[in-house]
Symmetry: C2
Subunit: 427 residues, 2 copies
Amino acid sequence: MTKEPHLTRAPGGVALPAGPAVLRRANLSLVLRELRDHTSLSRADIAEATGLHRATVSNLMAELLERRLVREVGVEHVGAIGRPRRAVALHGAHVGALGMEINVDYIAVHGTDLSGRVLVERRVVYDTMGSGPDSAVRRLGLVAKEAVEAMRRVGAVPAGIAVAVPGLVDVTRGVVTLAPNLYWHDLPLADQLSSILGPLNVPVRVDNDANLAALAEYTSGIAAGTPDLVYLTGEVGVGGGIISGGKLLRGADGFSGEVGHLRVDPNGDQCGCGRIGCWETKVGLAALVRAAMPEQAYGLPGMPVPDPGERVADIARGLASGDRRMMMAVAQVGEWLGLGGSILANLFNPRAIVIGGYFASLAQWLLPHAQDQLQRLVVAAPAAQCRFVASTLGFGAASRGAASMVVNHIIDDPAAIMDPLPRPAAY
Amino acid sequence: MTKEPHLTRAPGGVALPAGPAVLRRANLSLVLRELRDHTSLSRADIAEATGLHRATVSNLMAELLERRLVREVGVEHVGAIGRPRRAVALHGAHVGALGMEINVDYIAVHGTDLSGRVLVERRVVYDTMGSGPDSAVRRLGLVAKEAVEAMRRVGAVPAGIAVAVPGLVDVTRGVVTLAPNLYWHDLPLADQLSSILGPLNVPVRVDNDANLAALAEYTSGIAAGTPDLVYLTGEVGVGGGIISGGKLLRGADGFSGEVGHLRVDPNGDQCGCGRIGCWETKVGLAALVRAAMPEQAYGLPGMPVPDPGERVADIARGLASGDRRMMMAVAQVGEWLGLGGSILANLFNPRAIVIGGYFASLAQWLLPHAQDQLQRLVVAAPAAQCRFVASTLGFGAASRGAASMVVNHIIDDPAAIMDPLPRPAAY
């Protein structure tokens, strides 16, 4: 997502002059980025926003049109007396971006073209935890192949795949360092998936699910376009993704936004991770089930909950019928949600905290308590305007964000789609 | 610090074409930014890094040399058989950047030229708290005038002033929203100072002291160049500044990094702010004094400490002589420092947490406990490599960062120094 410097360096570190091809690609990327961030623009708008000369923009546009990466979208009338201008928009219907997610009990797929048009969307029930990493990666590969085929059938050749994983991911190497709920550690997922896909030869990236869901929220969710937002996944575990100044905040190793194990209560319960008083022990699904349905309590907070979806539905029914114990449980979890939210608001000063997973399902009951607590605890009055909002993207958030990330990578470095593309098999 | 889009819009929102002057300034800024981030570069390096044509760079460079904003720094030999290349570096000895800080008991000044060369540095003892805002602003104006004169005498005309304040600052309007330790609230400091400086006509900005100190640490401190770092001020209050991906993280309203009142202990003591269990009540100077020298205990944690410097010196002497109670006090504060640090490490994944103020003075005793606790509590192993390090910038950090911020603003928008400069009076 960061702008790559256009450097060409020989192995010895000696600077080589940037060739005209490198320069041109950098400029093509600049133009594509503007078009990604706006529905449509005229050539004059683009010249203005990029600082490139009009003639250069027209010239670049000719190439982008020829390569079908942009399309003319008709005539825009500017002002009452303005002369009509032809606007262009991102196109790339033949360039695919495949987003995937593998989670505890499902694999999700979200494939788009370069303009974000959805080409394939699918959710496959799969017991990742029970299957072990080898079978899971094979299954993921199979689902990926089918999605690639489906996209090819409609004329789009995937230029990249990104996979969302609920855990710590070494993004540079594509290795899942630790995904406790999948029982995965040090799994070289990008390499393994690439090798399964073999001749399809699509670059594979891996990233944290909350990071990618945050990106989806920023791109197309309820708080789309909010440059400072935090996304929280509410499951058995609680993950976070941070958008700051319109960009995914990664930190030094890509491990930012690890919200689940913040110590919020030094005198609290032991967490599944072995630490004491983690935020997950207060707001994870196990904590809620424990307080709302103590007869069904089991294990430690932070440990797996059988049939999480059913438990959430039970609790929603109980709340709808005014069950007092459940009301109290949800108030307590809501207050802890607000306490953790206040830490995020004090540190990141976001405009919105978008809550996903079970938090979204129970939002109407959780949010009043959470918002109230957040406002009490945040220091700066304007920062206290930060609102909790329920995600509307559902289970598809992470795979949708994964597809957005692929689009962003293509646009940041369009080299991959600049070379002559192989014709799709079905053409 | 963010790259401004080069847009020119008429009031009605109609886009106007960017004139050649706008374009040229954008390109001059691009070149200056490269030179700011490197000691010296050849024209070829700059062409490569910016994506501008060599001819354009040579042309821009001619203007920058004529305006004395860059200077030739001799010949660079590249590689064993490389031909010699003339390198250039940032110059601007006639362009001043004035950084200031006003705090509880002093006003500090740090003035540099465009290349960061220090022209004036001064610290004035001043009882800001006791004087009231009107007198304090007048005094600040007087110190600013003297600094401007001193800089003019050595040939540099300040192109901007930035003032660091220990509190919440509305950066856009230059208003100090709340600075509890100065007893200031809703003080339009930028406007008041501008009006005092009157005919000097230097633009004034105001920012949070920890933000500016973080910038100083990133520019020239012990962890200089670390793109992900957190800075903590350890005083009676505890403030934070976040550098993420090489940029100051501001959040939606500029109120990010408010670390002092994170609720770290729901069963903790009441804070001076009225909330319960704030981090300041655990690691602020009042908390340490209370635990280390209970016979001197007074007020609530988070409230003023008389003669803070003397108290810290007393404690350092006690620790050096092996005082057991003080050892236990510093261990306890160190552990809480580590706990808060683990929250920062989990959320921002920095490489370093640079500690200033009294934390730095007592670093040798605090840091082992803090580092140990941080490592226990951080989730991701690589994030746990985050080190606490003591700042070496001392009291000058915030004013030094303020000067850096002025330099950054000039470089981001060199318009202010592009027009013919008034000759300094002493010339």
